[in-house]
Symmetry: C3
């Protein structure tokens, strides 16, 4: 799977790769150790602009949450594209998806499919992954969602 | 360690393997990449029935929480048994255990030993693991606990 | 990088390795499987004494939080030093940093740099890592912060 192919597939879905964000602290966005690429938590940031801030169920709807998670996944793909290159990727391992819920809101699997669908649609077999979804009282900058991921490298 | 031996050991403790649950979204329950099997978060589900829903300390007692975590671990074992087979497992790596606490409740290590005890008792050296316990405001379907795990494959 | 060198560098920063804490349950503090060392969640404990308990933003200031995270990282280094030895470490992979926030407090990256700075300053290239920061309603014993980490082994 070449990066050109990925950008082409994104285009067919009407999507573009966002700019890879820079770390907001003393860490790296992608750390390659052994045969695993560890990706720092990615948020719904579009080319530097913070989007989808607030709680799911009140400030952010389930449909918006799906798009927020999709944007997190686009940022993961952008990081891997710029720091590693998909030519060297065997596949996505697992995602930990975090979300800020309003009291009683319980649509998290639909929201996290925003990331899962994108990985599977764009990366095919390389996008297959296990996942966990965990509520949190707060993410930095009041982001509604955040996504942690690792990839196996060839 | 054969699967037969594991089922035998479970029987001696009066336990059975639950049916492996199917994913509630666009992901897989076990993802094998490189030499690691990544297991999706498992909940206290017994053959399709949702159990132990609510907050620990009010709706769910510490003793019930222990059984809830044990059931999460049984589901992990069921997933590995059905998707990989214990013949190919070198051992459990680490568990991340999540729980929904009532205000001020602080018995989480006792509850998570429900999973840790099972892994060590059933898998022996292969069940040795490190762990983290983290409170969460909510898990999907109001489950009191959830368990994320990875295994190293031979 | 020898352990002697690490203790020397810590001394130059006016820091000492705390005693490696023992597990508070049926797990191990460091689990080596394949080429990865999985470290159990570490808390701001100094030689058995529980420090920095409470919520960040009210009971614990951002400056204290930085020191609390630094102490978590010192405990990680102590665990690796005693259980594996840094001669066998290729490098730190990723950290998951958890914190108990007061309503509206949003200085978590500054706090987690307490761990990130220490790893980079003490371990050099071996301390390079990706990270995730996640709010939690509670950690055991009301600790303000907790730190989960993995290392790749040579």
């Amino acid at each position: 799977m070449t990066s050109l192919k990925i950008i082409d597939k994104l285009g067919q879905l009407g999507l573009q790769l966002p700019a890879a964000s820079t770390p907001g602290g003393n860490y790296v966005s992608v750390n390659l150790r052994g045969d695993i690429a560890y990706v720092a938590i990615q948020f719904p940031i579009l080319d530097g602009q913070y989007l989808f801030q607030g709680k799911l169920g009140t400030e952010i709807s389930t449909e918006e949450g799906y798009k927020a998670m999709q944007l997190c996944a686009l940022n993961v793909i952008s990081q891997i594209h710029h720091k590693i290159g998909f030519e060297k990727i065997e596949g996505l391992n697992h995602i930990d998806a975090y979300y800020q819920p309003a009291e009683g809101w319980d649509e998290s699997p639909k929201v996290v499919d925003g990331a899962s669908d994108l990985f599977v649609n764009i990366l095919g077999d390389k996008g297959k992954h296990s996942r966990a979804i965990i509520g949190t009282p707060c993410l930095v900058r009041n982001f509604s969602v955040g996504l942690v991921s690792t990839f196996t490298v060839i």
